[in-house]
Assembly symmetry: C2
Homo-oligomer: 299 residues x 2
């Protein structure tokens, strides 16, 4: 089953203890796609400016993505500049230039409106709602957001959550939206807002999954040399949703496997800048590391 | 195989968001023992003052501990007062009264000197060294310490680590002693100081195990209502060392199982104040929760 992802395609300038890279291809939807494409056909819904460059478009197409709904508009591509220090657990945003993102109205083809697996990666909740309203038969809808929207568009976000199956948040966002410090309580609170599954990403500390029937916790795959964590959460979501989109049934076993695939995909993402590592990733790479990861828990 | 644990037996006054309790029986060796006793005979090496109270001694004896080397000296029992806030991940020490701990010279019987499994829980490295020197045939030696000793007795601690098999530290301590931010790098650095196994406790984020052959990571068992985390790390070590003391071989499988037992034991510890929960714990309770925990990773 194919998947449609709405989000940003961006040019990222990133500084980490391992160096600085300028105008790397990035953005939530791009990172998500690099992992999800290993499982299923990915339809990208995003906007870029006229400055985006043919090489980036060709690159995304060469990864098998359907770019029919990638709008190229007059204006500049969304740019983000950030910096990581110390343990690389949180980014300091130095600069954000919305560019064409400020006028983004997602467009999808009739064919794409029939897609049942939908991921609303981090953009303005109004844009997320706009796309979701166009879809004919949502079956599995995931949503990611960020503190900025939790603070400025809380009402819109909470309304949108009623139509969502899976809410993906990092620990800070989960605490901010639920008002709870304990993450299991936070997850419970978020569940009561609508989504039947809550996925809390904790960076190097792994992930917590909650639904009314069970709570799962997985550590991150241990990576010694974290070069650039930008997009790790989106890559995680790509692996998770990509696997579930193909699963016959959303059983507890399928969810655990999806969490493991997401974890392993994210571990590749942080090993190099931008999409460098995940764009070269094969399903076989993923399976090999999954087997190693699984070995950590078999006793 | 029996085990000997050196550490503190204390009277703890603890304030958490769930209330305040005064002069609870606690201390590193007491918490360790409550988990280790579920696997093997535990010999407690510690000191208390004349104010300790017969009821505490009787209580510890009723838990099957060998108290032959629990010194009762003139003076006051070691007291610690601390407070937890917010996510309960770190304690704020409000008051420490060393009492008899300041004159502690561990004594062990001839019989106890033959014990091969030794855990040096958190006390002054000089006291830890003093006990270790008395032991005839150490086979598996674990050591825990704290930032205070890393800062004030670094040289002594580093010397002692050469005679230790397992160094148990929390993430802050591991970073402080190794000078590395990335925890895998920190573990590598600590390994080069002597111990062949490094165990980094990350509180609610679980544990990282490192030796030259493999790196394991386990999440914490998800606990919704953390009442009092005091002693969780010691309880973890008790479960871990207790299991290994009985294992026929320290294989990678035994280590994983020991990590899981430690994790599960610690999850009980945080569910109530002091030793309230772990002192009532049975091996059957532990096994039941271990099965649940294991289920998180079986996919």
């Amino acid at each position: 089953m194919s998947i449609i992802v709405l989000g940003t395609v961006a040019l990222d300038t990133v500084k980490t203890p391992f160096g600085k890279r300028r105008e790397l291809l990035g953005g939530s939807a791009a990172h998500f796609s690099m992992a999800a494409r290993l499982f299923t056909k990915v339809n990208l819904v995003a906007i870029v400016g006229r400055d985006f460059g043919q090489k980036h478009t060709s690159f995304l197409r060469s990864k098998g993505l359907n770019l029919n709904s990638l709008i190229v508009d007059k204006g500049k591509t969304f740019r983000w500049e950030g910096q990581y220090q110390g343990d690389l657990n949180s980014a300091l945003t130095l600069n954000t230039q919305l560019g064409v993102l400020s006028v983004f109205k997602p467009r999808v083809s009739e064919e794409q409106r029939k897609i049942e697996n939908i991921f609303l990666a981090n953009v303005d909740p109004d844009i997320q709602e706009h796309l979701l309203a166009k879809m004919y038969s949502p079956k599995l809808v995931g949503l990611d957001s960020m503190n900025y929207w939790i603070n400025t568009k809380r009402k819109e976000l909470i309304k949108l959550l009623k139509s969502v199956d899976i809410y993906v948040a990092n620990d800070q966002e989960a605490r901010a939206l639920s008002g709870e410090t304990n993450l299991i309580k936070a997850a419970k609170g978020l569940c009561s807002l609508g989504p039947r599954m809550i996925l809390i990403k904790k960076g190097e500390h792994g992930v917590l999954f909650y639904n009314k029937k069970f709570t799962f916790s997985l550590p991150a795959y241990p990576v010694e040399k974290v070069i650039d964590p930008t997009g790790a959460g989106d890559t995680f979501a790509g692996g998770f949703m990509g696997y579930l989109a193909c699963a016959r049934k959303i059983s507890s076993c399928a969810i655990k496997k999806a969490l493991a695939y997401g974890t392993v995909a994210a571990s590749f993402n942080v090993e190099d800048f931008g999409l460098f590592r995940t764009s070269k990733l094969t399903r076989a790479d993923l399976e090999r590391r999954l087997a190693k990861f699984k070995d950590c828990f078999s006793f």
